[in-house]
Every structure is written in structure tokens, then in C-alpha cells.
Point group: D2
Chain length 285, copies 4
């Protein structure tokens, strides 16, 4: 596998964007190995993800951003982010007491399914420290008893910035993050909510689903924003239930949904396949 | 196929109900051809549907209800309803302008897939009169211009009672029914809502789904109660969407969901497979 | 809605195709309103669907094919087909005795959901003539008693060619078409098979599914080729079943799958969203 | 939670079975906490699972089997198995090189989601020994180089019998078991096949699925019998794919299906919710 660069682009829709971007890459010997684009007709916005090989590319990687800004982006009023395939994302996992999402993430990391570094796990409970140890990952525990929430979050932010974390995954972390914390990691915190959002936002969604008598339950992964459970949705999945399912059974069935939906979202993020626009996600193929 | 009787039962859970009911039928030569039961452990309620052949049954059909009440139901504090397979339900369909649910229902009726009489279609618009005519069914139109809502509903109730209607199907009927109307047909009005309830109750759910950026949309059929879109859910189904789907595309994909989910609910009702308890449904196998 | 042209393209993958095609359209004032493309890396083939508005397009519509062939296609060894949005496809429906697919198609046609002409229905049984009449469509019946299969097919081909039919939909048509018939309408015959192909190809798939004890059944729509049930798959869907489902119940659940999956395939075909390559389909977004 | 007993029953259908069994339990003060039954009308067979509390039950647990056989089973020609909730099943896991199923099973075991003992893991490759060590479970490796297949299986059988294993889970174990091995553990070996059986039985199903151009892929868990991939199916699930998915992508999506479907099957087995009859499974609610 050769090293590649990835551009994620959005801009007001207009003629010639696609031709200009592909020509820019072609002319400079960038072999395109992936291109996906689409236009939101209602809002007249163009979205694109393009990936090309760097080995023959005429522009040195540290100058690509500057050249693209000058030669293409300004003309079309393009917002873009640029990533390189040899950048290894650095992920932190936040957990509380439930282990299913944590095990699923660590298994994928451990087996090499995901190319990512996981320097630390943070929790508000001690319960999962043995799991962290088993996988050889540092575990930091901040309990409410010993510290205010503000102090806790400040310590966490310092820790995360110190470790150069660029993705925080909340694996059934049962504590609400402050606006200050959330705004320190914009579109870099992925949560799993154990319902089919926007249904049953907030606490105890399986109880609420049982009470309402729905015939299908779901799980939703999303970027965390200041509004609780209202950030851009990345992935959702559902499973059928019936009147014979007790709440305990919903919780059991939900666990499998939660871990798979969360991991799907994290995978898409790691692949740089997600673009956030207007509190919604474009998930490229 | 022999004529059968169906009992739908619920009562406080206690030892011996199942044995007593099945013995009652066995002793009187009622050959059981279907039995499904379950217990809600959390609320300690027993639910059951049992169907048996009438030809050798020792108790005449007009006395079954009385005997069952006296010999079994009182002892266990059982609520029950009794149905016979040779009763042909009488259904009215309410529609507005969209035809997909209407076509689906009339096709099933016309092909003999459903054993039901449909003496009339009621609408608040004239648009679908040609469809009714094509299938040879009486069409009654009440528009807001000529009549108050109260007058309209009173005429409709008189018409429905006159035709001995025992099931009203709202096939994308875009007008809210009054409490008076709803209470005249308890658990006898089935609606299709074009969202995965309780998400996006009320008007324009596809617009709301698009705005929220969900990755799955759904449809929900339910019995109509005084609370809008809050009655007991009978059936739900979902379909995946993505950022490339415009609102028009959601509407298109949703139509197929709506007609199938509504027809599934009507079928279960016609089969006497639904029991309503605490604003939830038990859907027997 | 302005009139548009649609190009469906495939060719060996190489640098510059996308840029060349989009430039060709841009330079000649063709406003692109849709573009979807992808590359099969394993086989190194480029696929694309592009749609643009004709009103300002510099090249007259009758010359587009010639110009595109000369200026672009030859250079990249492109195979392409060109369609115009104001062409109204002409569809024939073949049926036997079951009506659910026929009703579904005629309902969509009748409600204007599909923009298509349906000049005739052909059958090997008389059963569905009343349905055709109800929707005002000519019905031709060829039974085995009165005619050999070869004579029957020759008459059908003459009829279809005479009516300028360019899409044949087999709505549970229970007779195998000869190679001669199939080769007269390449990639223009869509069938629905009542199983999740390639499982349970051939006769009585629901019986076979029940016998095997599968937990999910399906339906498959595909283009018809000389090999029975082996043509390019367009759409598939599934539904869960359990040990309590009798064969009759599989048939009932399957009917809903069949009609929805068949109609989905026909819709994609009518939208010119399907490209066939190597006995597989590319289904554009 | 009180200790319970579970009866799994099947017999020729006839009047009075259900009443007799429930009376037998009621009369002896067995409080029924679960009952699910159904009748296969086509084959006239009655199936049932009943679970009751032991604390007040009049018959000592070691005599239940004898009493039930004498008083009930003989009369109705019932085949039954009896289980107790305090029996802790003993499971062995067979793996080759892929870790996703192994991680999923060990995570559930480690978190207490499953109440089961896992005394050993057996493999034909050394790759996953570190995973076994991480979870503190004995790992035995038999490679083809050092030993014939017959010797290997004899050693494995001795090991499994020595450890009193009563469930063998093949977590993507890529070696065919001999008839001798399989017949030593009837309905006690659960495999996961990476396709929607019966489609794509045998080797390389993802390659075959890609070649055939299916729009949905699946995974199937089943009991292993002498016929390869033809044993009774326990659970299946599917996921949508499209023409943009490479074989590598099918493998990636399939991994999640495989682990969830395998674990679902194992869970049902551990719960004593599965009855095998005529190479099919009855999966109680």
C-alpha cells in the first residue's frame, strides 16, 4: 500500500468544481484511487472526498494544503481538510461500568483491525481497570468523591492534550460532559446512545421503549455537541423486539447493537469518511 | 377448514390458569389448533390466545361465553373476548389524497388475500373517488367547505354504525379525529404514521427526519387513541437512508414502508392476533 | 423540471476520465445535476452515471452520441449508453395466476408514481384478465393447450416488437422463457424470484426454505439471462421467519417481499440507474 | 433467583399434552415461570419448553426425570431432556487464525454476560495463543505438521472428554471435522459459516458472493453434522452490500455479522432454548 492523501471538501455548488479538483490532481501526477462526491440540491452544497497516491505526486506533502488553497479552494470558496494515510490517529476511551463497548474496541485494536493508537482509558469508576490492564492500556480513574466535576474535566483535558489525543470515544460513559469539555474537542468525541434517536433521548431509554411498547429498538452513534444526544448522527441500527421481551432482554439485545454501531462510527471516522455539515453527517462510501 | 372459536384472555398471573383453560376445552371435546401464551413477569399478567374447532365442541357457540365466564373466568379474574372464524369483519377505509395505502388494501381484498367486507371508503377529498369506483366500492366525501368538523364526524359515525363497521383503517388520512369519534370505536381504528414512533410524531415527519439527519426512517401502525400518535403500537418497520437521499426520496421510500406496515397491522387485527393492555399490544404468533 | 440527458459509462480505469467527461459537459454548457461514479479496483474498471440539463447544452441532442463517441469515448475506450428524460419507457407485464405483483405495478402506474406506458399484459392463464380490465390495459392470453411454446413465444415477440416494448416485467410469471426469447430482449427482462438467490433457485423455494429450516427468507429481482435464475441481481430483501411459520405463512410473508423488491428493481431501471457488467449490476445512487 | 428446572419436550401431537404437563407441575407445587409451546401442523408434532422453580417442588430433583417418564412421557410418547439452572455448561472453543469470534466469546465470558466455564481453547495454529493467555485460558495447539488428522482428533476428543466439555464452539475454525469427531458430540458443536446458508456453502463464500453480485450477505450459525454446512440452522443475520464493496469490505462487514450470529446461537444453547428435530431447530422465545 502506497501512502495517500485524503481531501474532504464542501462548498457552494457550482459548475466546474469536480473537473478543477480532478485536473489539479491529474496534472500533478496524483493517481486518484478513490473519489466520492454528491450535491445537496436543496441547499446547493457540493461535498467530496478524494484520495490519491503520494509517491508520484509533484507537490510535496507539506505544501499541498497551501497550493490547493491558493489554486483551487479560493476560486470555489471551498472548505477543506487534508489527511495523510500514514498519520496514526490517537484515541482515548471513556467508560463507566459496562464493558461490552470497551471489549469490542480493544479487540479490534488488538487484532490490528483498526490502525490507531490507544494511549489511555478514562473512567469515573474503578470497575473496568482489570480490562484495561489485560490489554496493557493505561487507566485513569476520576471519581466524583475526590474531586469536583470542573477539576475532573480540567485534569482530563490536560491528560488528553498531553497525550495528543485526537479522538475520544465514549463507550457507554454515563456522565454528561460540560460545554467547555465538548468545545475543546469539536467533532472529535463520538458517543453511543442506547436508543434510536431522536426517540428516547436522555436517561433509561430501554425502560422508556418498553413503556411505550415499540416493536423495534435501536442504537445511535453521534458526535457530541453541547446539546445532549442532539449531535450529528453517524450510524444507527435496530433490532426487532416483541411483547415477550422484558426490559432485561432489551438491555441484552441492545448491548450487541451498541457495540457494533459505535465501532462502525469509529471506523468511519478513522477512515476519514465523515464530513460534518449543518449538524448532519455526510458518510462517504 | 372447520369453523373455530378464538379466545383472547388476560388476567393476573397465578398457578393453574393454563391447565384450567386447556382442560375446559379438552373435556368438552374442543380440539385446540392454536395456543400462544406468555406472562409479563414485571406486571404479573397472564396473556393467552387459544383457538379450537367447533364441530365436536360440546357447548353450543351461543353459550360458550356464558359457560367460560361462569366456570373459568370468575375464578381467575379473567378478561376475555370471544370470536368465531366465520364472522366476517366489516372494514371502512379513510383516505385523503395519497393512494398507495388504499391500493394496497383494495388489492389484498380483491385478490382474496384478506377475508373481510369493505362496504365503504370515506374521504375529505375527491381525489381518490376513481380508485374506489375502479374497485366497485362506495365512496363518501366530506369536505371542510360544506360542513363543520362536528357535523362531518356525526355523519360519518352514523354511516359507520349503519353499515355495522367494526374496523376503521386510516390509509394516510390527513385529518385529526376528535375524542368523541375515537371513543366511539375503541381499539377499532388503525392508523399508519409515517415515522418510527415515538420519533417525529405530528406533522411532516420526513422533513423532520431529513433535518435531524437520521440514517434510518420508519413507519408505525397503531390503534388510535385520544392522544395523537400515542396509541398502542401494532407494527413498525424501517429502511436505511443516507445523506444522498432528498426529502422527496424519503417520501418515496416511506410509501412502501407505510403500505406494508399498515397492511401487516390490519392483517393481525383481522386474524384476532392482537390484545391491547396498558396502551401496549400483545401480538400473538 | 428541465429535460435532461443521462450517460451510463464504463471503461478500463485510467487517469483523467472523470476530468475529461465533466470538462466536455462543462465546456458545452451542460449543467450537471447528478454524478455518481466508482472504480472496481480488482478489475480496474471505471463506472459512471452523469445527468445534465439540455436547455443550454451547446450540442443538439441528436448529435450528442456522435460527438461524445468521437471526442471522448474513443480516447478512453468507453462503452456508453445515452438516454433522455423525455423518453417514456414502454413496459409489458407477464403474469400467471398470482396478482400481488401485478396489482403493485398497476397501482404505481395508475397513481403516477412511475412515468411509464404499459400498453399490454401477457399471460399463460386467464385468471388475471379482470385485473387488467379494471385498470384499462389490454390483456393477451396464450395457453399451452392451443399452441406450442415456440408459436406462443413468436407471437409474443411480434406483439412486443409491434408495441415497441423496451422493458418486460415478469410479475410471478411461472413459465421458463426460451433462449431465443431472452436473447431478443437483452437486459430488458426483469424477473422476481421468490428466494434469496443463489439459495433455492428453481421451483418451490418456500418449500425448500422450510425444509432446510432457514431463519430468514428473501426475494430477488434480476435481469433474465439464458441461465435460469442466474442473471444479474438488481435488488434483494429479506424477512425473518421462525419455526412457528408454516409454508403457507412463508408464502404470505414472501408476497410482500416479492412485490416490493420487484418494483424497486423496475424503478431503478426506469430511472436509468442500472449498468450491467460481467453478469453483475452497478446500481447508481 | 431461585434454582429452576427446564424440560424440553417433543411428541406426536394429541389432545391433552399441555394440560397434563402443566397439571403435573402444578399439583407438585412447581411454580411455572416460563412456558412456550407450539405445534407443527404439517408434521403433527408438539414442541414445548417449560421452566419451573424447584424450591417448593414436591419431587426431589434426582427423581424428576424418572417420575416424568413414568407418569407423563410414556402416555404421550414424549421425548424429553431435563436441565437444571445451577448446572454450569462447560465450553471449549476451536479457532484458527482469526480472532474476532474468539474475542467476542471471551468478552462475554469475562464480563459475566454468559454463565459458562471455558476450560480450554483448541487451535490448529499458534496465532491466537496470546489472546488465550490474556484471558487466562489454557490453549492447546495441534498442527498438521506434527501429527495425522486422526491422531489430532483422538487427542482432542480425549482432552474434551477429560475436561467434561458439553459444548464445542467453532469460532471460524478452518478445518473440517471428521464424522467420528462430530458423532462424538451430537448437537453439541456449534459452527459459524460466513454466508447466508444454503447459499455459498463451502470455501470462500465472500469471494463467491462478490462473484455472483448479491446485494446482501449473511452469516449462519448451525449445529455441526456429518454433512458439511448442512446441520440444523440456529441463527442467521444479513447486511446490505453494494457494487462499491470490494471483497475485503465484505470480509470486514462479515466479521461483525459472524461474531454476533455465533454468540446469539451459543447464548440460546446455554439458555436451553433450542430443540433439534428433523435437522431443524425450534428456538423457544
Amino acid at each position: 500500500m502506497k501512502d495517500t492523501a485524503v481531501l474532504l471538501i464542501h462548498c457552494p455548488d457550482q459548475q466546474g468544481i469536480l473537473a478543477s479538483v480532478t485536473q489539479f490532481l491529474n496534472k500533478n501526477n496524483g493517481n486518484i484511487i478513490y473519489l466520492d462526491q454528491n450535491v445537496d440540491r436543496a441547499e446547493s452544497v457540493f461535498f467530496m472526498r478524494v484520495e490519491w497516491e503520494l509517491d508520484q505526486f509533484a507537490i510535496p506533502r507539506e505544501k499541498i494544503s497551501d497550493y490547493f488553497e491558493t489554486l483551487i479552494a479560493r476560486k470555489f470558496n471551498i472548505c477543506f481538510t487534508l489527511h495523510f494515510s500514514d498519520e496514526r490517529p490517537r484515541m482515548a476511551i471513556f467508560v463507566s461500568k459496562m464493558s461490552h463497548c470497551l471489549f469490542d474496541i480493544l479487540s479490534r485494536h488488538s487484532s490490528g483491525e483498526w490502525v490507531v493508537d490507544i494511549p489511555l482509558i478514562i473512567s469515573n469508576h474503578k470497575d473496568l481497570e482489570p480490562v484495561a490492564k489485560r490489554f496493557g492500556i493505561d487507566f485513569f480513574c476520576f471519581t466524583k468523591e475526590s474531586i469536583t466535576k470542573e477539576e475532573q474535566e480540567n485534569k482530563e483535558i490536560a491528560l488528553l492534550k498531553g497525550k495528543k489525543i485526537d479522538l475520544i470515544v465514549l463507550g457507554r460513559y454515563m456522565q454528561v460532559l460540560s460545554d467547555h469539555f465538548v468545545s475543546s474537542f469539536p467533532n472529535e468525541i463520538i458517543n453511543i446512545h442506547h436508543s434510536f434517536l431522536p426517540a428516547f433521548a436522555g436517561a433509561k431509554p430501554y425502560h422508556a421503549a418498553h413503556e411505550r411498547g415499540v416493536k423495534i429498538i435501536g442504537a445511535t452513534s453521534h458526535y457530541v455537541t453541547a446539546d445532549l444526544d442532539a449531535g450529528p448522527i453517524i450510524a444507527q441500527d435496530v433490532v426487532r423486539i416483541s411483547h415477550v421481551d422484558s426490559i432485561e432482554n432489551l438491555v441484552r439485545k441492545g448491548r450487541d447493537l451498541e457495540k457494533i454501531v459505535l465501532s462502525e462510527a469509529v471506523y468511519k471516522h478513522l477512515q476519514r469518511k465523515i464530513l460534518v455539515f449543518n449538524n448532519r453527517t455526510i458518510i462517504f462510501n
